[in-house]
Structures are given as C-alpha cells and as structure tokens.
Symmetry: C2
C-alpha cells in the first residue's frame, strides 16, 4: 500500500479519496478551504497538510482534483506547490479537466524533476465517484501509466491509456463535443414534440432503440420533459469544458460549430439561473410555444 | 388472409411487400415505373395493376410507400388515384415519410369516404425492411389502427400508435431532429480528435458506454473514420425529412436551430456528391486539417 496525497476534496475528490482509504492506502489530504480537508480527515483517519508542498513531500503518489488550469498550476508549480516537494520517482495524477496545453506542460516539468505524470480526466459524475465506477481517460508515458493505474483502480470501472501527455484531456474534450450535439438535438426534438402536442411517452417509445438512441435520450428525456435538472453534471462545468475544447480547436484547426453554438446556449441557461443544474437543462431555453 | 395492394416497390416497399406475400396475403402491386412492378409480381406471384385506382378497387388494404407529398397526393387523390376506387371499410396505410399536414388531409378524405387511414412512417432502413424488423410510428384512429396493425406485423418489430392523424409523421420528425444533432456532434467530435492527432480507437474506447454514447457512435464512428458511407440512410432522404421538420416547426412554433444548420450542412454533402451516401457522411465537410 502507498502513501497517497489527495489535493482537492470537492464533490468528486472527496469520494475518490475515500475509495483510496478503503483500499488501504495511507492518506494525506489538502484542500484550499481547510475545513473540508479537516472534515474528510476526521471521517477517514487521514492527515491534513498545510500546503500542497507539505502534502506532497512524503508521498509516493500525489493526486489532484481541483477546478481550473490556474488552480492546477498553483498547486503544482506555484509557491508551496507540490512538484518542488515531491521525491524523485513519485507519481502525479491529475483528475482535473484542464487544457491539453497545461497537461503537456506539467508532463515536461515532471520529467525534468524525475517525476511520473498522468493527465487523467474522468467521466461518470458524482455518482461515478461515489460508487467508484468512473471512466478515466489517460495521457502520459507507459511508465507513468504503470505507476498510476493500480492506484486509480480504487475508483474506476474503466481506465484507458489514450496516448502521450495531454491525450487524456483531448479525449475528454471529444466526449463533451459529442454530448453537446446530442443534447442540443435531443432538446430540439423534445421541444418540437411539445410544440406539436403529441403524446411524449408514445413518441419516445416509438423512436427509442433506433438510430436516434443515445444515453442522454435513455436517461434524460423524461426528466427534461418534467423540468427536473437538480442532479447530474453542472452547466457551469460543461461551459468550462466547452471553453477548453473551443480553445484547443482554435489551436488544432478543428471546426466545431455545434459545440460553439451549444456553449452560447449554455450561457443563456446560466443567465436563467441554471448554472448548477444538469447539462440537460439546455432545453430550458426552449419552453413549449 | 387479406387482399392487399402495395403501391411503391422501391428499396423499402419491395421487401415489405415480399413479407406480406410470405405471410399469405393475396398481393396486387403498382409502381410508377411499371418494370419494377412486373419484376416483383413475377418473383412473388403477384398481380400487376394499371393504375392506383385499378390496384385499389378490390383491396381490403392499400399500402403506399412512395417518395414525397406530391407522389402520395397523386396516388391517393389524383386522377386514377386509389381513394375513389377503394371499397367502403377498406384501410389505407401510408409508410411514406411526408408532412403531418397531408397525413391529416388524407385522414379527413378517408373518413368522408368511409375508409380507414393510418400514417405510418418507418425507421430501420433498408436492412429493417429486408429483415422485417422495422419500427413503425403510427397516427390515426383506434379502429384504423386495429385494421392496420395485424397487416404491418409482417415486417415490423415494433409498432407504436403515437396518436391521431399526423402523429406518426410528427414522431418521425422528432426522430430525425434528434439524429441531426447526434450526427453533427459526433462528426465534430471525431474531426476534433483527428485534428488533435490522438489514437481514435483509444479515444472512442475511453468515451463509449458513457454519457456521450449513442447508436450512431456505436455503429458509425469507425466507418466515418474510414470514410465509408455507401450504405444506410441516404443524405438525400435526410434532407427531405429535415425539410418536412423545418416546415412543421414553422407551423407549430418550435425552434430547431441545430436541425436547420445540419440541413444546410447536408446541402454541402450533396454538392460533394454524397446525396446517396449514409447520413454519417456529414463528416465529409470536416476533413482532417
């Protein structure tokens, strides 16, 4: 069993760290709001650190699950950041959804310090973190993956090594671009059915299981029709992710007009007070007419 | 067993009529290009009619699977059309994807003549017709459905009575609107992954089975990546269907911007020579950059 440091005990990080504790690892935790770290440590017999550096100095593995590129840069390379404190041969795993650019930058910094580094954004949401059934998309070298994979098994149902540094982040963007199209299409389809005043149960019974089938249709059309959005993956985070994808597309030359449009529509949903609601709240822009 | 007339022996109609013959019905067929009707009748021991009226005059059930609103109006209400020739109490089933408006108009005309009428567009494509596993979305009255359903069982795996006249056509539009969003999102996602130069097998392994899952992703991402489009549901027909949905949305007030955009993108694909290719050819607009 390893000495593991977990940085970022939000709704995703806290249950992931709990699974690591349950797997028998020795846990040290750090959180920007110290109270969350203390609460977690008290509940799970962990050690609270004063800073990312303090948290990282004796760790075999340092795991981050924070918010943004800036947050990640701060806890790794900033003042009292983890990287300078980590021992040679230690492994850094980043579960934050960030730009592929910073993922590649951290991989370079890690290598120069003799550290292993994996960018490993997740999907599966809060439920996946709680149940230990996340899907993890990984970017990094083979040795780094070999170090990280057994640790991540504690909370994953699927771990895919997509490619070199940044490839995990790229895969997450591909995921979100596909979802943006699906949810805009599903929103328009449901809205159209409502405007046409047909029986929604019958319509979706008729079209489910065919070429229009999607996880989102299977799991969300009914909650969308009922106006229930207080669960799932938040619009605010979807906007962050689509922003990352749009930045990356500007760099790699890809044209993603539907994702760009959905990003703007999500801005409407935020303005309507839906920032913390599930991404399926996209249909709130389209009430029955 | 019934006396059934089948009008329109295209790639969908011909195998549907064959399933009816196999079910033991007495078949009369009509096709605008007479040679197709003769070919079918020779192969399946059917009778070739001179006109829709000639085809319909002794039928218990008249089934149409033609191309457009105009085609349908012509074979039902036009000169030598079926409706004037049909006996009271006979049933008309329309499998053409047409406007909800003409479906409602035919229902009114049928009622005034003592006929039963069901609008019954299908999904499942040529393979579904060949294998007798179509999904059928139906609009019409309860009595009409009771007459039509046992007949349609010959080539359906699922028959849903969505609602009154036109409701079957509306459900088909809902289906196509959802597919337009899914395919545009999937095209952008795959294109983005290609531009980012990540391993496509790994990326789709990582994101499949999660919130981005769709029938289209499961069945089309690999053929899209390989540039294989010579199968499936044709772009030309998708444009027709999206045109029907856009017309209907203009009438019922729905806002379907992604479907409208996809319709324009499909126009590009037609211009690139892809009119007869599968709808997944949408990605042809987005070659790797």
């Amino acid at each position: 069993m390893a000495r593991i440091t977990f940085i970022g005990l939000g709704i995703m990080g806290a249950p992931m760290a709990r699974h690591l504790k349950m797997a028998g690892h020795q846990m040290t935790v750090y959180n920007r709001s110290r109270s969350k770290a203390e609460l977690w440590a008290k509940a799970h017999d962990g050690t609270v650190a004063q800073s990312p550096a303090d948290a990282a100095k004796d760790a075999d593995v340092v795991i981050a699950c924070v918010g943004t590129d800036d947050d990640l840069a701060s806890i790794t390379l900033g003042r009292d950041g983890a990287f300078a404190a980590m021992a040679k041969g230690a492994t850094f795993i980043d579960h934050t959804t960030v730009s592929a650019r910073i993922a590649r930058q951290l991989a370079v910094e890690a290598k120069s310090r003799g550290l292993f580094c994996v960018d490993a954004p997740v999907s599966g949401g809060q439920a996946g973190a709680e149940n230990g059934t996340l899907s993890i998309m990984c970017g990094g070298g083979g040795e780094a993956m070999a170090m990280a994979e057994p640790v991540m098994q504690a909370y994953a149902k699927r771990i895919v090594h997509v490619g070199g540094p940044g490839a995990g982040q790229t895969a997450k963007m591909v995921n979100q671009i596909a979802i943006a199209g699906i949810l805009q299409g599903l929103s328009e389809a449901l809205h159209f059915a409502q405007c046409a005043e047909v029986d929604l149960d019958k319509v979706f019974e008729a079209i489910s299981g065919g070429a229009a089938q999607s996880w989102q249709m299977d799991n969300r059309w009914q909650t969308m029709a009922r106006g229930e959005f207080d669960f799932g993956f938040a619009v605010d985070w979807m906007r962050k992710d689509l922003g990352l994808a749009l930045d990356e597309a500007r760099a790699n030359g890809a044209s993603i007009p539907c994702a760009a449009q959905a990003d703007q529509y999500y801005s409407d949903v935020q303005y309507m007070g839906g920032g913390r609601q599930d991404t399926s709240a996209l249909i709130r822009r389209l009430p029955k007419r």
